[in-house]
Symmetry: C2
Subunit: 405 residues, 2 copies
């Protein structure tokens, strides 16, 4: 309780400072009479506080906490996407709840229980639909992005048990289309929602247990890691006639895999210009792949089993965090030399990393240190440490303009 | 006058509709008592009305005009960049005025006469500085992005007349650095403002009369077209030790150049995935260049002398407009086949094109038709036509997260 009180006080101090220096800060009241301090939505972000079912609304120009929202359910493995206009944050809870947070009023606008187990979602390229990917019942559901009215329900193909497969790696493609993987049905699917009355879904066998997926920021390349075998399922949306191919098959051939302490499945891979950086599951390595040939061009030995490899928006660096027992570390890979150049210990149990829009700062969540740590990426120095309750995912609104985010 | 009255009425109707359907729309009053209808800044944009010294604030989720701001000086060739938090639009007028528009209060916050002839600017990668590129007096000036206080003044090298060169093609690079070209001094310069007390500038000879420039969205490749010779000056910021190279030298060799009716110099080129699309000055062609080798891989014959080639954010299409006398046309080049697939006549004197964040729509300004025409890029149909007074440049806030925009 003491920590909360301190946090609120710190937030108020921040506001006081901001009001003192910004003559035109837009304060006022909303239509319902509630006090509003309108902020430019391009400056905002959401930090998940997984253990307490709460989130922090944050701003990055001057790293600060704006407000805490509570009572949001089971947020273990929760993730966030933003509406195209950057007004709403859509929060997907592990309990299947979809929460629409209004970043202008800084309040929850709507909350629906849309499944019983969900791990994320995506917004259509035209901004009209928000789509949930569900474990149970397995499949995807599409909602009107403004009202959250259900507009399409697409069950997934069944796995071995006969139940619809768990869905992972949902990402938007151009033209109201979505790509995703079926963990239990070993498939990669494409759903076209351009005609809501007649959704079209097409699936391809992709390999054993696709467990993660991402699309490149231009919505072209979709990759899904395979948990059940060495290799990665690959789809090029510029050439759909080529179907799904397997790349990097047998990247760990002949070696004894390490025990897997954490199954990364929340967009843990990075595309940085010519290269993709892929955490190799069960290994202390990041694989480097040429994005033109999709052949391996190098491996970077790192401190532990990588979970997230995140590219700085200029593609010059890739920052990596690790699974237990190495989850107190963060390492920086230089894109030019493919060598580790920096090693940090931001705190205990580093769960996530996110860059500011042009990568001058990176925000790191250290769950067991109850802190979000902000680094200046030029100087590699810590510039801010924000108190947070067991923080996990960090999401900034600028991601709304990128495919797959 | 009649048009203005109609426009205002239309705007009020839009507001009425929005208020009716959005229960949580944030209306209120600002600190000065003025009425504020806070909007999510990620939805906003600015359209230049060049002849009347005014701009339109627009929103793209439902294409609409929010407000007109007037009295902004000479806006021929005006351009806009946005603050990192997407709160401010910085408008650079041809008369050297820099206007800071607050998108939250929808009012001009500050206006400074910073030169006598200016053609644009850029915001530093950390969001702290806004920098103007000037024709007269030639050079660049850096301002605090919040207060517009002058923080650095860097005169350009002189040209043949002894006066500091005109600056063109200013773009931000990672780490508070900027690239730009000197039209009269035939040079490409890099200025580092990470230490404001000691700015560092380094210039390279680049070829005759660099007249335009762009940096790729990741801040890596800088290209400047040469007006005085065939060819393009090229700099790869990942390999600064390689200096400035010339690429595509003699792309028009042995041919009689066409008379040039318009000198394009406002980022008229596109990088779409593996390819760059470059309007060939004095020709009815768009050059296609491989971004790995920087060799020409094709030419697309088009309807006139291209001015802007703009890539859809997913890189699947490049939309092109033309110089007089073909400036009533727009053509679409397919990135896969490198063929023209669609030809439009949106109106008279098409001056600019801009895509919505993920490219589902494109906004086209038709100056002599007094209209901004919005197309659905999937169906290639017109979906809205907004009245505007002789519109030219169109700029959306999501560009704040991209280098060079």
């Amino acid at each position: 309780m003491k920590r909360v009180a301190l946090l609120l006080q710190a937030t108020l101090l921040f506001f006081g400072g901001a009001l003192g220096t910004h003559a035109h800060e837009s304060g006022g009241h909303d239509m319902l009479g509630a006090s509003v301090l309108a902020l430019p939505t391009g400056d905002l972000g959401v930090v998940i506080e997984r253990a307490t079912g709460s989130v922090l609304l944050v701003a990055h120009s001057q790293p600060r906490i704006i407000k805490r929202l509570e009572g949001l359910g089971d947020l273990s493995h929760a993730s966030v996407v933003f509406s195209r206009d950057q007004r709403y944050a859509y929060l997907f809870g592990r309990d299947g709840a979809l929460t629409q947070i209004d970043l202008l009023t800084q309040q929850v606008k709507k909350r629906v229980a849309q499944a019983t187990n969900s791990i994320g979602g995506a917004v259509s390229s035209d901004g009209k639909l928000v789509v949930a990917q569900n474990y149970a019942p397995g499949g995807i559901k599409a909602f009107d992005a403004e009202t959250l009215a259900l507009v399409a329900d697409i069950p997934a193909q069944p796995g071995a048990t006969g139940a619809p497969s768990k869905v992972v790696g949902l990402a938007d493609l151009p033209g109201r289309r979505f790509a995703y993987a079926l963990f239990d049905a070993n498939a990669l699917c494409l759903t076209d929602l351009s005609n809501l009355a007649q959704p079209k879904t097409e699936c391809h066998l992709a390999g054993k247990q696709p467990y993660d997926g991402l699309v490149s920021n231009d919505g072209r390349f979709y990759l899904a890691g395979l948990f059940g075998e060495d290799g990665i399922a690959f789809y090029d949306d510029l050439y759909p006639e080529r179907g799904v191919q397997k790349i990097l098959a047998g990247y760990g051939r002949g070696e004894q895999p390490l025990p897997v302490y954490k199954m990364p499945h929340l967009r843990g891979w990075a595309v940085a210009g010519d290269f993709a950086f892929l955490p190799a599951i069960g290994r202390h390595e990041v694989l480097v792949v040429d994005t033109r040939t999709w052949q391996e061009v190098g491996r970077v030995p790192v401190k532990g089993q990588p979970v997230f490899a995140v590219a700085r928006p200029d593609g010059r660096e890739v920052w990596v965090n690790f699974a237990f027992p190495d989850n107190g570390w963060v390492q920086v890979i230089d894109r030019k030399t493919l060598a580790v150049t920096h090693t940090f210990s931001p705190g205990e149990a580093v769960l996530h990393l996110e860059f500011t829009p042009k990568g001058d700062q990176v925000w790191v969540s250290a769950r067991d240190s109850n802190a979000v740590v902000v680094y200046d990426t030029s100087t590699k120095t810590e510039v801010a440490r924000l108190p947070a309750r067991a923080p996990s995912g960090i999401f900034f609104t600028y991601l709304a303009a990128l495919f797959g985010r």
